[in-house]
Amino acid sequence: MIQFAWMIPLFPLLGFVINGIGKKTISRKGSGIIASVAVFLSFAIVGALYLQVANGTLQTATLDIFNWLNVAGLKIPFSFLIDPLSVTMMLIVTGVGLLIHIYSIGYMGDDEHANTFFEYMNLFIFFMLMLVIGANFLILFIGWEGVGLCSYLLIGFWFKNNDYNYAARKAFIMNRIGDLGFLLGIILLYYQFHTVNFLEVFSMAGTMHVGEPVITVITILLLIGALGKSAQIPLYTWLPDAMAGPTPVSALIHAATMVTAGIYMIARSSALFVLAPITMNIIIVIGLSTALFAAIIGLKQNDIKKVLAYSTVSQLGYMFLALGLGAFSTAVFHVTTHAFFKALLFLGAGAVIHALGGEQDIRYMGGLKKKLPITFFTFLIATLAISGIPPFSGFFSKDEILAAAWERSPLIWLVGMFTALITCFYMFRLLYLVFFSTFRGTKEQEHHLHEPSKVMTIPLIILAVLAFAGGFLNIPALFGGHESFHNFLSPVLSKLPAADTILTTTTTEYSLIGVSVALLLLIIFIAQRYYVVNKQLPEADTTKLKGIAKLVYNKYYVDEIYDFLFVKPYNFLSVKLYSWIEKNVIDLIVNTTGTLAIWIGSQSKRVQTGNTGLYLFIMVFGVIFMLLYLILSFHPTIATRL
């Protein structure tokens, strides 16, 4: 079966080409169907591979496609790696991607550029698959850059709005900053190991000792790349702005797949990261602080998509926390459950926006529960999942992270728990303000409120089932389960040296879970009192805020700080370079070269007088010269003869 693995990225690529060529001729629904079928075919092959890997018929296998780079000792083949981790990621990408593609047929069906949309979506799936299926860091990097490109294309999809273009540029540039670190990391890795192939690097790393300085530097550089791609502090500001793109884009790229690329990369390189405790600690700090930071900002956002965007940043922080604690498979588990419920949240938000004809401000929503029942129900399931209420999927994955945190230090658990409470609060705030009480929009909108079509609601329902049941993929031993997800992934993920000795007792774990669930239910109750019973609304934009409220509402002014520190000096430098160096130095050199060429030509042209006599003279002179040269080159023999 593995010999068909090369077809997995092929189908979306074909979808991209077909939709691209037939952009003007294929109908909008047609291009949507082509795109969805392409993803479905990939999903089918991945499914078959998964079954083989799961029942053990296929061990970790590499499929060499062709000899790619082979120069002066640098040998990098183009090969794919099929192992539990890559298969898991591919299932998420193609599975959730398929549902989002189907949803987009309904959502983007009226857009005049829908064909371009599906073209870019397929290209994105292609690059994302390349990212997770690659057998070495370089192919991962191809996918890495490619998804950044597709993110730029899709965020700026409605290109007529200049603000959206700015957001797209911001996303791409911030990604590139991270990519510089990533690239340096790969180069240093090659310098150390003389190979970029995963299996070779990780087996060599197994022989090195913990705390090796080179590995620490490599992992820090790789981390910088992950920070850019997965929107952690300090490179996270692009993600909320990326909400400028269509909602399916936000669901696919900025929730389920692209932003998890950083986590995948670190999980893949777990063999390196376990050798660098300093880096792991940095990851814990960054992950935890990002989770808390973004969650607080989410409390005061009024755009439905921005709330979800900050929620994504926050949940990514949790995943990083898990990675930093050495719980690599837990992080991937949270990636999986997060993909389910976050995609569902975004698609549900899309259904709401669609029903309201483009309104995204939650202050003008409300009471949608009755008009959009399926959307409400699925959104509720997703909200329960993200808050970590059992038995929904989010509970299992988040609780594992918190358990690993308690294992390391109760303080980390405390901060993580606090963030979870804030998460619960702002998510239920969103739910209550959008779906409960009375409608606060215009009469016109109220008239047009309708549940979206089946092509949009069926993916919502499927994702809701996954968001509910996804947790059962990995029932922990605590509840008598088999931890199937962990067992599936453990052959390819490394463990921290101290991982096998678990200090927390079972009773402590039970009480931790009990405490967290109780607190969460309390928060839900408080939120309900505040927003539903007391009908509190967020302030209008015109009211002046004071102190902390103002700080949080303005996202801690981070964008403004970056603008001041980086963007303005860069623009200033750019303008200066243009006005002085470009005009005076570079133009001078180029124009002088041109003028010189013309001058030489005009001087050489003076030979052509048109005077026949001159031409004859030059011809005779030339012949004499040649003869003289020939004769003199035979000079010794001529001399003796004469």
């Binding site: 003076r606 007088t609 048109g610 005077n611 026949t612 006599g613 004859l616 005779v620």
Partner: protein, 111 residues
């Protein structure tokens, strides 16, 4: 052939070479410096004939008839070339109403 060879040994070969050289030089100088096109054509003929003379002289000195056969070839070529040259000359006279070779200067660059 031996009779000619013996007879011609009276005049040393250097004289033939010098004569041929002088004729050739006169031909070149004339072709370059004269204004009348007919004179230029005559000078070209003169150059050809200087070469003919030298060929014939060496052929006689070495008793090898190949040189004289080659002279025939050259004469034929000269004749053909004169025919073409005179045709060009006739056209030139028709267009410019003069045989001055300096009037053929329209291939020059105009600025």
């Amino acid at each position: 052939m031996e009779k000619i060879t013996n007879a011609i040994q009276v005049v040393p070969i250097q004289h033939y070479i010098y004569l041929s050289l002088i004729l050739f030089t006169i031909g070149i100088v004339g072709a370059l410096l004269r204004r009348n096109s007919i004179i230029v054509l005559m000078c070209i003929e003169l150059m050809l004939n200087a070469a003919n003379l030298l060929l014939a002289a060496f052929s006689a000195y070495h008793g090898d008839a190949a040189g004289q056969v080659f002279v025939f070839f050259i004469m034929v070529v000269a004749a053909a070339e004169v025919a073409v040259g005179l045709a060009i000359l006739v056209l030139m006279k028709r267009n410019n109403h003069s045989l001055d070779i300096n009037l053929l200067n329209r291939l020059r660059d105009n600025n």
